[in-house]
């Protein structure tokens, strides 16, 4: 399943990772069956699946925010124990500290590491400029729009220069136009300095446009990875234009074919519509 030719030491390797929850009143809820996920250094991998399939859970395991029920995560070959200190995590929800200005929110990630305040602020201003918020540093999160908050969060993660980026539907709550702009920004920043990216999303277009490889997860419970599609679109990509390429449509059709039944399962729909059409 894994494409060969990447470095022998993947940035993230989940081996036989499964997730089960104890239910109140006894019993086990098997959320994710043992799966293998591998993200090579410098590779952009999208994890695509219907709502509730456990894709965010896999991300949390890679981040070390939660332990797997079985299996292990290897980060650059090292068994992960506790938090993944090599990774930056971009959350779906608002994760900025509301009592700190945009600048302080970004700088704090460096300061806690012992960087002097002056150096931290210097780096912060660079990154705020990169995400287009150079003049918004003194604003508090509540004074920023949803898209601007996401940019601050992106700067907050990137300023620490993590080797791995973990993203949990980061642009999910944004409107369609802002999403497009944010995707473009993300690709530009990533292109300049390729990190390993694990990008969780339920948006097929977004997954294809951004990534090198798309993993498709089946609907939960007992979800697993049911598809691994390399995306051979040329880089650097123009998010808006790439969507009109014939190759994009071919990939879209192929992945949607795999994904469709899983999405239907999530909503408890049968496959009759498809069968009738067939």
């Amino acid at each position: 399943m894994q494409p060969s030719g990447f470095s022998a030491m993947p940035a993230v390797a989940l081996r036989g990772v499964s997730v089960a929850y104890g239910l109140t009143g006894g019993g086990r809820y098997e959320a994710v069956q043992p799966v293998d996920v591998q993200v090579a250094d410098g590779e952009f991998v999208a994890v695509l699946g219907p709502t509730g399939c456990g894709k965010s859970t896999l991300l949390n395991i890679a981040a070390g925010l939660m332990p797997p029920s079985s299996g292990e995560s290897l980060i650059f070959g090292q068994r992960l124990q506790g938090l993944n200190t090599q990774a930056g995590y971009l959350f779906q929800q608002d994760a900025l500290m509301p009592w700190k200005t945009a600048r302080d929110n970004v700088a704090i990630g460096l300061e806690v590491r012992g960087t002097s305040r002056r150096d931290a602020l210097e780096a912060t201003d660079q990154f705020l400029a990169k995400v287009g918020l150079a003049s918004f540093g003194d604003r508090y999160p509540h004074q920023l729009s949803g898209g601007q908050k996401k940019r601050v969060a992106l700067a907050q993660v990137l300023v620490r220069e993590p080797k791995i980026l973990l993203m949990d539907e980061p642009f999910g709550p944004l409107d369609a136009q802002t999403r497009l702009i944010m995707s473009e920004l993300l690709l530009d920043l990533w292109q300049a300095d390729r990190k390993a990216v694990m990008f969780v999303t339920h948006d097929l277009d977004e997954a294809i446009a951004l990534s090198d490889r798309v993993l498709v997860m089946s609907a939960g419970p007992r979800s697993s990875i049911i598809g691994d599609f390399p995306i051979p679109l040329a880089r650097p990509r123009d998010i808006a234009e790439v969507r009109s390429e014939p190759e994009f449509h071919r990939l879209h059709a192929a992945i949607w074919n795999t994904l469709r039944d899983e999405v239907r399962k999530t909503y408890g729909l049968s496959n009759t519509a498809k069968e009738i059409r067939a």
Binding site: A63, L65, L83, T85, A87, G88, Y89, F91, Q93, D94, A95, L96, M97, P98, W99, K100, T101, I108, G109, V112, R113, Y140, P141, H142, Q143, A153, Q156, R160
Partner: protein
């Protein structure tokens, strides 16, 4: 609504009440069966607004009230500082140690359910008739407000913000300083008006029940000799006192809560 119009209406409310009070306490409605004039608000029970204003003015003019104001202010400030400090520390401790919180939970609830007024006599016994019995009464009031707010504030820190802070590399000490502490403080500040108000309540109630100085003492003395004008004058001074304190609290909290969304955000 414009500011001036609002201010006008607010002043009108006071004017209407005062005029009503004045008219019905000075103009007889008729003559009673015993031949005496009959008032809706007899002066013996209600005084008149002019007499009350005159008394308030005299108390300030002659300077008799300042000593009492200072005493009450000292008590309230001490009650607030001690109560808030204890509330923050213990609130923090309980929120971070669920076992401690679980063990003490019924006792905290019991203590909080107790009407604090019943403690005043026993505090007078323990701490004497000086300021400390009043301070501790105020502390029992302020403590619980601040304690519950901090406890809630620390426990309800958004889990996402917390996870994010962890992923940004914060250790426990840094989480405390950059996440838990500001979250808890914001709750303390949002309850500042209430807790400062209760510090004053503790001081005045304590004075009322047994003391030799303070605003509560003034009111109690006046009541003892059926000096209704003195009672009303004491209440008016107390109201002015609380409003002045409230004004300063607002002044302090504004820069501290600048990060909070306010209702009006439009700027020209």
């Amino acid at each position: 609504m414009s500011r001036t119009k609002l201010l006008f209406l607010q002043v009108m409310v006071a004017v209407v009440v005062l005029v009503f009070w004045h008219v019905f306490s000075t103009v007889p409605l008729g003559t009673g069966s015993d031949g005496k004039p009959y008032y809706l608000l007899p002066q013996f029970f209600f005084s008149t607004p002019l007499k009350v204003i005159e008394r308030v003015f005299l108390m300030f003019w002659e300077g008799t009230v300042y000593k009492h104001l200072m005493i009450t202010l000292t008590e309230a400030v001490l009650a607030f500082v001690i109560g808030a400090t204890a509330g923050v520390l213990i609130g923090f401790w309980f929120a971070r140690k669920p076992l401690v919180a679980a063990v003490f939970d019924p006792y905290v609830k019991m203590m909080n359910a107790l009407p604090r007024v019943v403690l005043a006599p026993i505090f007078a016994l323990w701490f004497g008739l000086g300021i400390w019995s009043k301070v501790w009464l105020g502390v029992t009031l302020v403590f619980f407000i601040v304690f519950f707010n901090v406890y809630q504030g620390v426990r309800e820190v958004s889990p996402v913000v917390l996870s994010n802070a962890r992923m940004l590399g914060m250790n426990e000490r840094q989480l405390l300083r950059h996440v838990y502490w500001p979250a808890a403080l914001s709750w303390v500040f949002s309850s500042l008006h209430t807790s400062v108000g209760f510090a004053v309540v503790g001081a005045v109630v304590g004075e009322y029940l047994g003391s030799s100085a303070g605003l509560g003492y003034l009111i109690h003395q006046a009541e003892g000799v059926f000096d209704v004008t003195g009672v009303f004058a004491g209440m008016v001074i107390l109201m002015i006192f609380v409003m002045v304190i409230d004004f300063f609290v607002t002044l302090i909290e504004k820069p501290l809560l600048v990060w909070r969304p306010s209702e009006t955000r439009t700027v020209q």
